[in-house]
């Protein structure tokens, strides 16, 4: 019955002859490891088709959902990290396998007559693979892909005459947006794989027409593809897959912070296999209008030489030239890549940018994982409104010209003390018990971290601390500090303050009695006005609202009044309300922490806000 059915099928389709010719293809001189590269490439492409389909089933190409859906695949879906990892690293493996395949073909002279056409088809396939890499890089819509692809599409502008129109068509408009993603996705998942399949079929078809160009001399008797060569191919494919899995376990496919056109991204670099081209374009030869030479003309010439290889290779000397050219090309690529990496390694600002990028990508993972989910405006707004992320950047831009945060500019960078001297207080832990103990310490009050760097150095406060404070009862002073610090309602002191309710109450009374601890001689507190003008009122000192009001208008009579020297950030519209609030929240260590919906770090904010809390 079964045989009858198969006979019928064979009669109608001729499948037996096809299978036979596929499996029993002759391998002159026996199976060899050097023939495996073509098969590994077919395997890699098949894996990309399989994983690509499943990724497609979960991906959503638009500027508010691309990053979000990739985040969901990577971190929320079981098996997602593995799936995306395979696709991510197999794409890179394909580039290496392509290089190996091409090396073997050229060294063995397999590109020469009668196999010229197949070599050319191979070159077309190479272009398609590079196109797939380039389009795929953008799809996660993270900072890295966004900025790297921007460079790539701007290179299109150097194409004479049609460049600008071409770029606009590819980008889907004047700016990057929804249509950039839909277009890149249509290329990446539609046109390019279809072309790839067509040319692979053509490649294999033409290959089988002429058979393997065996390596001279034959080392063994002829054999068949099945099973000797096929086993070698299978083992090579397995090795490729193992390398990919190891890379996933070791590094995992990265996902940067969501694309943000308003956020500088100095860590932008192309994928490693395009680094040589990137370094090449840094050469001064290609400055200005001559960019087109480096970006289009030289790579075009290289492709032309590759294309002409089968014709040049007809002569023995020509073949030698081809091999020499290929090695020279590879050497050039290796040298340029090495120089690109070495240059970046020595650049401190690049290293800092990479660190910042990693910090952001770690942070966004926590924010996106919040019970409140990702808003419809996209994950990028989570980072934009996050005090932990924006605080250091705002501090660096607006405060660090005078202030410091634990000695640095908020982002961890220590400014040059000569070019940008510290002229105001160090604000790390501002309003905390530790900070208040410092400013009330006769030894510390006139140090640069408190009042020593400002004009206040010679003011009444410094004199008071130096003269009066040493005589105060230590216990009473500690209670006053606790009471004053409680005004700030700092999240990281909340637990301690719940334990110290009585001493805080005592401290308040001592403060209000104004004897012997005479803070209220000059400062207003709890409805009591002082006689002294132009001193900060201590009611709600360093609390969220107090700080927002202070930064908005430090010249208000509640604060420094006429003595003020700080810009009125709110009043003069230097910063908007949201930015001031984020700056204040960051200074107060008041930001979302994973697992704590109400946001309250249990320790003081660390000097570099980089440190990620232990999971």
């Amino acid at each position: 019955m079964r045989k009858a059915l198969l006979d019928w099928l064979d009669d109608r389709t001729g499948y037996r002859a096809m299978v036979h010719s596929m499996l029993f293809e002759n391998i002159p001189g026996g199976s060899r490891w050097r023939y495996v590269w073509g098969s590994t490439l077919v395997f890699a492409f098949a894996v990309q088709l399989i994983t690509g389909f499943f990724l497609w089933a979960s991906y959503s190409p638009s500027s508010q959902t691309a990053w979000e859906s990739v985040y969901y695949i990577q971190y929320q879906t079981s098996g997602g990290a593995l799936l995306r990892g395979i696709h991510h690293f197999m794409a890179q493996a394909m580039i290496i396998l392509l290089a190996l395949h091409m090396l073997q073909i050229i060294i063995d002279g397999a590109y020469r007559a009668p196999r010229e056409v197949n070599f050319w088809i191979g070159l077309i396939l190479l272009q398609i693979v590079l196109g797939l890499s380039l389009t795929g890089y953008l799809l996660p819509w993270d900072q890295k892909g966004y900025w790297a692809t921007k460079v790539a599409t701007n290179i299109m502008l150097t194409v004479p005459i049609i460049g600008p129109s071409l770029q606009r068509i590819v980008v889907g408009g004047a700016e990057y947006g929804h249509h950039t993603l839909t277009r890149f996705f249509a290329l990446h998942a539609g046109l390019l794989p279809a072309l790839m399949m067509f040319f692979i079929v053509a490649h294999v078809y033409v290959f089988r027409r002429h058979g393997i160009k065996f390596k001279e001399p034959k080392r063994a008797a002829d054999t068949h593809f099945w099973v000797d060569q096929l086993l070698k191919d299978a083992i090579a494919c397995l090795a490729v897959l193992i390398v990919v899995i190891v890379l996933i376990l070791w590094r995992g496919a990265e996902l940067g912070a969501p694309a943000n056109p308003s956020e500088p991204y100095s860590a932008a670099r192309p994928e490693w296999y395009f680094l040589f081209l990137y370094q090449f374009l840094k050469l001064e030869t290609f400055a200005g209008e001559r960019e087109v030479l480096g970006a289009i003309v030289v790579p075009g010439l290289v492709m032309l030489i590759l294309f002409l290889m089968p014709i040049v290779g007809r002569w023995k000397l020509g073949h030698r030239f081809n091999v020499a050219f290929l090695f020279a090309l590879l050497l050039g690529v290796v040298i340029l890549t090495y120089r690109a990496v070495a240059e970046d390694r020595s650049k401190k600002d690049y290293q800092a940018a990479v660190e910042m990028a990693q910090k952001d990508s770690e942070r966004i993972k926590d924010l996106a994982n919040r019970p409140t989910g990702i808003p419809a405006t996209g994950a990028v707004s989570l980072l934009r409104e996050d005090a932990y992320t924006q605080g250091p950047k705002l501090f660096k831009a607006h405060c660090a010209s005078c202030h410091r945060y634990d000695g640095h500019d908020g982002t961890g960078f220590v400014p040059d003390p000569v070019k940008q001297p510290q002229t105001a207080t160090d604000l790390k832990g501002f309003g905390s018990r530790q900070w208040l103990s410092g400013i009330l310490d006769p030894k510390k009050v006139d140090s640069p971290n408190y009042l020593g760097a400002a004009k206040l150095k010679n003011g009444k406060m410094v004199k008071f601390v130096k003269k009066d404070v040493p005589d105060y009862d230590k216990n009473d002073l500690a209670k006053v500090i606790a009471a004053l610090s409680a005004e700030a309602q700092l999240p990281y002191q909340r637990q301690q303050e719940q334990l110290d309710v009585t001493s805080i109450k005592d401290g308040r009374q001592i403060l209000l009695k104004a004897d012997p601890i005479r803070c209220l001689d000059c400062h207003g507190f709890a409805g009591k006005e002082s006689d002294e003008a132009n001193t900060p009122n201590l009611t709600g000192y360093a609390s969220r609202q107090w700080l927002i009001d202070f930064i908005s208008n430090p010249g208000h009579e509640r604060f420094y009044g006429k003595k003020n020297e700080m810009p009125a950030f709110g009043l003069k519209k230097i910063l908007d309300e949201k930015s001031i609030a984020m700056l204040v929240d960051w200074l107060r260590g008041d930001w979302y922490e994973p697992g704590q919906p109400a946001a309250a770090p249990t320790t003081a904010p660390t000097s570099a806000p980089a440190t990620k809390p232990a999971p």
């Binding site: 859906s69 098996g79 799936l83 002429h210 897959l241 989910g373």
Partner: protein
């Protein structure tokens, strides 16, 4: 044709060594295709592992806003909605029919249990599905001759809240196409 023509060569002998190679080749071949496929299928089947939200009482309307005419009136149900990575606060996630007879309120899911169309109401208070003409009495019972496998799905009304003048309904969808009420 060239010397690659395969028909000239006899198939390789089936000695033990060759057999072992064949088994190994097939095993490796299967494995390397299985790994990416398994990763993909795991992701594809992820929705099966996610639990559906527990049906909770959701506030629908005030009792005063519901006419005491023993006729069904449609009300929208508002709740937070999670859609994969997004959380949308206070979205209109569906609708219910409410029918009030003095202090008694009945609630029905608006979806036809046949294939899920939004059923209409007639002037006499009965229901009719616009897609395949199933008809239901105003109590939601199936009227013979309809293709729907069961009557409209009645939803639980929070009686304690009702006494305070608030209509709260345990909003829930059920699988279509079966005579059983299986939560979707």
């Amino acid at each position: 044709m060239t010397d690659t023509e395969s028909a000239n060569l006899p198939p390789p002998s089936d000695d033990r060594r060759t057999f072992f190679k064949k088994v190994l080749a097939v095993a490796i071949g299967t494995l390397i295709v299985l790994v990416p496929s398994a990763a993909g299928l795991t992701v594809l089947f992820d929705p099966l592992r996610r639990k559906t939200n527990k049906a909770e009482f959701l506030p629908v309307t005030n009792l005063d806003a519901l006419p005491d005419d023993d006729l069904p009136h449609s009300f929208q149900v508002v709740a937070d909605r999670r859609d994969a990575w997004n959380l949308y606060p206070a979205q209109r996630i569906g609708a219910v029919y409410l029918r009030r007879n003095k202090d008694k309120v009945s609630a029905y899911n608006v979806v036809c249990p046949h294939l899920g169309c939004f059923v209409d109401t007639a002037a006499d208070g009965s229901f009719k599905c616009p897609c395949h003409n199933s008809t239901f009495s105003k109590n939601g019972e199936l009227i013979p001759g309809s293709v729907s496998p069961r009557g409209l799905d009645e939803l639980e009304v929070d009686q304690a809240a009702l006494k305070q003048g608030l209509v709260k309904v345990r909003f829930q969808n059920f699988q279509a196409g079966t005579h059983l009420r299986i939560p979707a």
